[in-house]
Symmetry: D2
């Protein structure tokens, strides 16, 4: 795989090959590709994803708090806006089109697999610095980017074409690159250009891998409404 989303991301992904494959090639993903995913599972996933986005946006806001430069702040602010002001609003619309009212959406019970993921990310951010937080945030952002691109190229059905179009869009891909740049530069600023030789690197890669494994659990939950 290429360095589309930056060097740091590529290095972290390399350290978690099984988890990354299980996540980006999960049965849930493959069944969106060929359209075989039951509609019920997709809507269940969408509702959980709305709750996910609330906490994921909070985690990105924490990245602003943990920034050390105006530039880092601007990078994180951009993502928060995209998530809170746009993606979450969009989700409400997608769900309404799918017959899920706002009331139903807002009263969604958060599943344990969902909660596990966002609380892990938030706690990593609260307890650590910006690097710990970004290592936990990256798998979600970039994984969806990779999945979107691949499914756009390989899909054999239009059933989930809208979802695929969203994450393969230039807009979303640009977000992935911006996050990759933020991660890369935050690492260099704190640990130097050879950041992967720092003792901290191993722990950061562990955090990335754990977050990736929690993504696997999230897809699995999607299959069991």
């Amino acid at each position: 795989m290429s360095d589309t989303y930056g060097r740091a991301f590529s290095l972290m992904r390399e350290k978690a090959p099984e988890a990354w494959r299980d996540y980006t090639r999960h049965a849930f993903v493959e069944s969106m590709k060929d359209g075989s995913l039951p509609k019920e599972a997709f809507l269940h996933y969408l509702r959980q994803d709305y709750v996910f986005l609330i906490h994921f946006s909070r985690a990105w806001a924490l990245a602003i708090v943990k920034s050390e430069t105006h530039e880092e702040m601007l990078g994180a602010v951009g993502t928060v806006n995209a998530l809170v002001a746009e993606e979450m609003q969009l989700h409400v619309g997608v769900c309404e089109d799918a017959g899920i009212s706002q009331d139903q959406l807002f009263s969604t019970n958060e599943r344990a697999e969902n909660l596990a993921y966002t609380r892990f990310v938030l706690e990593a951010g609260y307890s650590g610095d910006l690097l710990d937080l970004l290592a936990a945030l990256a798998p979600c952002v970039m994984g969806y980017g990779e999945i979107g691109l691949r499914l756009a190229a390989e899909k054999t059905s239009e059933e989930y074409g809208d979802w695929i179009a969203t994450y393969s869009s230039d807009g979303y891909q640009d977000s992935c690159k911006a996050v990759g740049k933020l991660l890369e530069e935050a690492l260099i600023r704190r640990l130097g250009v050879s950041y992967e030789t720092s003792p901290r690197w191993r722990r950061l890669c562990d955090t990335f891998r754990q977050a990736t494994e929690l993504e696997v659990g999230f897809w699995q939950m999607g299959l069991t409404p």
Copy 2:
């Protein structure tokens, strides 16, 4: 059930009857009572519980940080000492006796069901105030107290007698009462004597219930090494 551990705890428990029963009467618990729990499952549980205690102790230390009075601090400090300086050390010994070396214990891979629980508690504490944190901490402390007392009275086998003795001991029961008092007084200090009429009460009870459900997941994990 009685108010052994204080009024606030009793009221919170009342609001989560199914989750509380599923937790305190879980198959894992019942099979410790009659000794039918496979040794392998118990040792697997012990190892996960060691990792759990690390993060649980960190959460109790956060309760010191979030205290508003010297008395609240002393209450939380007592629990941190009991956990970090005593219970965690004890665990190392119990595991060694059971043939798990310190190296094996320290390299235990944290299971998702384990991680979900501690990160939920820590995040509730970081994002909220002392009340949010205590509502998330209470189910573990007091649930083990209730289970310990009941199993001491009902057990039909000595297989897990040591575990049962630990949590039914006067020392542990006193800890439960102290935590119940800390919770009760922290509520009164912040929300008044009729704290259960405050709008915040519902959210605190939700946190208590969610933590209890995560305990159910923890036992369930114990059964699947």
Copy 3:
């Protein structure tokens, strides 16, 4: 004074009459009104205010993290955008016009009186919930609003007309009202409509007063370049 910025703010201000007067009628303020403030003091203040805004924006980002509803998140996101993406950029421009290069601005040494204030706000937010944070944030936002309005009406010199125009502008006044609404609704959500009868109210008012006193120290620092 009226309830321009909402009931909660008015009640908090009422509890800190001396501090509020010392802050909003400080010699620094009065000398902007009549134009007697030395230019050197104003530029020194501007540079410190830039550093202040970095940490103040981080504190507002923390308000997103501490939000419990999508609506609260949107309220806080609006303020973060206004601060990070607009006001901080604007500051860079104002300073350049005043002969302070970006390099000089970025290398400003944070004075103790400056640091005391922002760290107090951030710590209140980290250790408490959204209410503790908003109580610490309110004096800065609304105080500048009040000062702006009064100086626009009473000013006898155009020397600091731009500064006065900024904080008396409809845009800034609307921000104050939005923050007042966010505070009011967050209080009602957590403590009920009679929030001022909750035991927590006193501590929140203490936080508001302490933040106001730190504003007094900030103006005082402005007078001693």
Copy 4:
């Protein structure tokens, strides 16, 4: 000066020579040495120091939360116990002997110079990782150790002999060495043995210096009851 309290501390101190001298040779300190410090100033200092210790203990509890190993946790727990369970209780006694009742002590108004320091430390800890927190905590712990040792050797009056005896005692000196070891090992664990070549080192030294400057402000406050 020697490496009594470890290599990391010595290196950090070296980077802040003026601030360190202003702190450890402050007029307040020198006047304890020769007994010329007015009793009123000392009692005023003691009362502020009690409030300081509350927040300083909370900051040390945060070091437990931010620990990554059981050993780091034990190091921080030891300090929290010494502070919360012993030093704060002791302070109550010292103040009573000096004619300050518990009620007076507990109602002490926190001065801005006091608040600035503890909130700076807590915020550094919340926003960063254990290293950022320890860099902010070290100047207080070790500075008092250095002052205690020097005053024990140079004092020309017994007026403040008790205070001097406390901080020159073997017990306190051992605490300083333990904190020095914790700092040293936490640095090596995260940044490697050549931690002073990491880009993070500069920021950590800045934090150390800023905390030292806030200590200077604290002594200055002591002279102005």
